[in-house]
Symmetry: C2
Subunit: 388 residues, 2 copies
């Protein structure tokens, strides 16, 4: 039997950077997914039993003999899959040894932490069972769209779905969601994986990926909410790598140089985030037409983008995207850390496909990569495929 | 004898739009001038006596026989040039009649109000004396650089300098300034001229043009201050005509839609304006190097520009200028109403001429017009030329 799972990426709709200084931010899931396929091996004596990880997008395949894994974890005590645990110092060393033995090409060495997270989640939840895990993703890596969180969430979901810790209906057809308790467990395990990849993740990316929809967050408190509006975003990846730490530090330094002005800038962003959550939750179509809501969101995006520029986190490529979409009277804002990364452009529901094609063609002619995705959809889902 | 006067244009360094909502704004003079040459005619019987106005830049020449002017003002009572007065209803009609008789080409009909202001100032200060007045300017018209105020200030200065209302040293060589009392008078008369051209001017443009330097203003209160820093600005005229009223109304409407966020945006601008006045008045080079001051000004400009964008008053052409100057790591902001108009770019003192040439060439290849001007210099000045 094959278990498939998919977990969405995320975008920051409003409040990035300002959230570090106490403002509200709003994140949402996007309908771009990371897929995990898990196939537990049936016992066989022909081949040596092994754990296989296939990263389809980057064309890499890793395999560990189960005997080698056992050897790396001599004192292994089975964890309870119902009790998410952090990777201890000893386990970190054992995993590092297993990853070092792989021949990851230098150019793709950034994947090593993801492989480590994979090993931790796999061993913690499935122990020494041989299996083949195939990963593929619609999300660009390292572009601020939550690809690592989607990876951890999808992986945790697939691994947990074949344990006693979650009860799922194996006979249900197609993609289906978990119950609330199951999602909590998936989310907690995914967070443990994120910690291996990012050190000190905020927990926002995995939460959005697990539960989907929209999340507002402020001072470490996350509030989940359901959007009543179906927004469609054009997401443009400028492909310019960002140094998130340096960008965050830059804003803090500007805050120290101009405490008065910057405090007002952050407060303005806080108002925008709060307004956005109100707009997105407004009951439609009774109160406002979809077009009216889209116009409000566009205005809030434009205002937030201006405030991000005043924080100094824009970038020439971001400005190029803004300039290009402005020609078509479309509102855009950077999403995430800025300094490159991705830019959001709202695609109004009544916008013609011809215009969308033109905008994308023009953006891609600049070497950017474009995605279209619905905003605020479902979180992680699974599907069972029974081979005949 | 010929009297020459020159009056500078102005730029808004910080605070445009926000000033309408109670924030502080900062304006400064720029070393781009409107020149007036006044030559009172010596009594002659050969030609009919007339008042001649030559607008050199637009290639127009107007002439009124003195007898025709007398006829238009049958009840003329000489005003005291020392007591600036508003153009009354009757005078407005008489002037309108004189202007209507001119054959101003349709494309240049916008100049009619300037000609009216000229007639009011001339008749009020010089009465029915025949003369030739020649005007030329380095300032683009209607681009938000205070060309009409510079015109009124230079005109009032030239006209007053040959009356008893101001005491000037006719023998002094070259350009020289007025005393404080004389400047007050010039400024008041210029304001009367501005009222004819603009209806309800703020008084900021003529005040900057008369006194020069830097002026901060808030809720109708003007504070003159002297800058200790010599900044050089690249001023790019996008040549896109602005509808100032519509732009101001647009910001007010956005304020009504998003009162919370916009109030913080305006407060942030207020902080920026105040910081800017502090930076510009900081004693140099004791406290900060010129480069440090320039960096501070650049950061404040970038922050202000972001806030203007969040007010929605930017424009595709403004973004093009920003994008272009950003490539050369130069900071820019729109100045004035936005929606086209002019953009300021700080030119650091250590910036090489080669880079400046490159930036200008690139901007001009977009059809823009570039000026380089010192900021915060002298106000109106006069010079007497004694023909031998």
């Amino acid at each position: 039997m094959e278990v498939k799972s998919r977990a969405p990426g995320k975008i920051i709709l409003a409040g990035e950077h300002a959230v570090v200084h106490g403002s509200t931010a709003v994140a949402s899931s996007i309908a771009l997914y990371t897929y995990v396929s898990l196939r537990l091996s049936t016992p066989s004596s022909e081949n040596e039993e092994s754990l296989k990880l296939v990263l389809k997008d980057v064309d890499l395949e890793f395999s560990w003999p189960i005997s080698r894994i056992r050897e790396a974890f001599p004192d292994y005590v089975a964890l309870l899959s119902s009790t998410p645990a952090s990777c201890s110092g000893d386990s970190t060393k054992s995993i590092a040894a297993l990853v070092e033995e792989l021949s990851i090409p230098e150019a793709k060495i950034g994947l090593a932490s993801g492989v480590s997270a994979f090993l931790w989640l796999y061993l913690s939840i499935q122990g020494f069972k041989p299996a083949t895990v195939v990963i593929s993703s619609e999300l660009p890596l390292g572009a601020g769209l939550g690809s690592s969180a989607a990876f951890c969430v999808a992986l945790a979901a697939a691994l947990l779905s074949v344990t006693d810790s979650v009860s799922v209906d194996l006979c249900q057809q197609g993609w289906h969601s978990f119950g609330e308790k199951e999602l909590d467990l998936v989310n907690k395990w995914a967070f443990e994986g994120e910690k291996i990849i990012h050190g000190k993740p905020s927990g926002i990316d995995n939460t959005v990926s697990a539960y989907g929809n929209i999340i507002s967050f402020r001072s470490g408190n996350l509030t989940r909410m359901k959007s009543n509006v179906h927004l469609k975003m054009l997401i443009t990846n400028t492909k310019v790598g960002r140094n998130t730490k340096a960008l965050v530090a830059g804003v803090s330094e500007r805050m120290l140089r101009h405490p008065g002005a910057m405090a007002f800038v952050f407060s303005a962003v806080d108002s925008i985030s709060k307004e956005l959550t109100t707009v997105l939750q407004s009951p439609t179509p009774d109160h406002l037409s979809v077009t009216q809501i889209e116009e409000k969101v566009e205005e809030l995006m434009e205002m937030n983008q201006g405030l991000l520029q005043s924080m100094g986190v824009s970038h020439a490529t971001i400005e190029t995207v803004l300039q290009t979409t402005l020609k078509y009277k479309l509102a855009s804002k950077l999403t995430g850390a800025g300094g490159g990364g991705c830019v959001l452009t709202l695609l109004p529901i009544l916008l013609s496909a011809t215009v969308v094609d033109k905008v994308i063609a023009e953006l891609e002619s600049n070497g950017f990569q474009c995605f279209i995705a619905g905003v605020g959809g479902n979180g992680v889902e699974i599907s069972f495929e029974h081979s005949s």
